[in-house]
């Protein structure tokens, strides 16, 4: 039993396979809270596999031919704010900026956000709205899975023991994308409700994902299709009514609960407001560029 500082994917997954109760440690900003609280004690028969020095997980690459960007699972939120990555994945940068504090952003990662799979995870609506794919490694090899198929419920993913999240691949969108979140203050706050909107001009596709208003991140396919049809993609404009209906559709799809952070009613209302606000912002911005 030890803390194993992995430097490549192969040795990390080998170690996870050798000791089935092993846990992956990235930035530690979720895991160590559990350890400090005594809720999680690394098992004496298992290893802690630290992955934040695995070069493949710490880097990102832009494939301009495929118009995608692939971001390593252990890239930190602070790194997502740096150029040129922030311009390639602007909604992700916006979401990253809202995470915790500088100390949390310097440590926290997208792989850890998905590993925890909180419905309030700020990276997850962005990955969902962009239909990101996730590369996963295990001793059996590598596979690629849609992020939406991995998020099962609150703090539940379909990852198997021995799986290591390697990277996320997102499209570099021609159009507009943005992220918005409601919380009680500007810093260090878990989302009460959040939305990510993607207006993909080339594919004429709308992607909207909602955070903190369901057991996991939700997409709103019916409202997305309706709004895509109502949009003038050439001028990037829409009628006021269409924007209103889009917000209403999103609010109806939300499945919020009452808890200590907020009420279901307020969360549903916030989803409508955030959706309309993002749509107005996106159309304004993209329309001006057209």
């Amino acid at each position: 039993m030890a803390v194993f500082v992995a430097t490549d994917v192969e040795s990390a997954v080998q170690r996870l396979d050798d000791r089935p109760d092993s846990v992956v440690l990235a930035g530690g900003t979720d895991l160590m809270v559990e350890v400090n609280d005594g809720r999680l004690r690394p098992s004496p028969d298992a290893d802690v596999v630290a992955v934040n020095r695995v070069a493949e997980l710490r880097s990102w690459r832009h494939d301009s031919a495929a118009a995608t960007v692939t971001i390593g699972a252990a890239v930190t939120y602070s790194e997502m704010l740096d150029e040129p990555l922030a311009t390639l994945a602007p909604a992700l940068a916006e979401a990253a900026r809202t995470v915790g504090s500088p100390q949390i952003r310097n440590a926290g990662t997208l792989g850890g956000n998905l590993g925890t799979c909180s419905p309030a995870g700020d990276g997850l609506p962005v990955l969902a709205a962009l239909d990101a794919s996730v590369e996963i490694a295990s001793v059996a090899g590598r596979r690629s899975v849609a992020v939406l198929d991995l998020m099962k419920g609150p703090k539940r993913t379909t990852l198997e023991p021995g799986d290591l999240i390697v990277s996320f691949t997102l499209p570099v969108v021609d159009g507009w994308q943005g992220y918005a979140k409601v919380g009680v203050r500007n810093a260090m706050v878990i989302a009460i409700a959040s939305t990510c909107l993607v207006l993909d001009r080339q594919r004429q596709r709308v992607g909207l994902a909602l955070g903190s208003v369901g057991p996991t991140v939700l997409r709103v396919p019916a409202a997305e299709t309706k709004f895509a049809a109502a949009l003038d993609w050439r001028t990037m404009t829409a009628e006021r009514d269409a924007v209103q209906a889009f917000g209403d559709g999103a609010a109806q799809t939300a499945a919020p609960i009452d808890d200590h952070r907020s009420s279901a009613e307020y969360r549903r209302h916030a989803i409508g407001v955030l959706t309309r606000r993002l749509a107005a912002r996106g159309l304004d911005t993209a329309g001006r560029a057209a």
């Binding site: 500082v5 609280d37 004690r41 004496p44 802690v48 504090s101 500088p102 100390q103 500007n186």
Partner: protein, 157 residues
Amino acid sequence: MTNHFTLRVNGADHDVRDSWLGESLLDVLRDRIGLLGSKGACEQGECGSCSVVIDGELVCSCLVMAASTIGQSITTVEGIATDGAPSDVQRAFVDAGAVQCGFCTPGLIVAVHSLLESDGEPTETEVREALAGNLCRCTGYGRILEAVERVVVERRR
């Protein structure tokens, strides 16, 4: 169950012999190595009183698993003063009256040094955003912002 490892803190190697697997860097610094400058208040990343710099990055030492930092370079508040003389940031905190009970001060000193290393001329908004992870229950922050401003002006000269 314990494990043995060596950490590089403020330029010196420290042998850690009696830590338990999963123990935080904050606890190892304080209880095993005897560096009591970094404070522990929340142990969940909320207050920043445990802030340290690891390989150039400001982080909460309470959220770092100590044994995972083998081979990295750790700087704590004790590593900031040179030859026992306070740094310009430390002096400015005292001069501006930014220290009251002092519990938040070590974390803030580390955070302010880290901020000014990456940006020597931050706006007030940037300072506020950069220090959002460091809570102070006494000063109301006004004097802390003033201390940072004093350093910025001083370093310009």
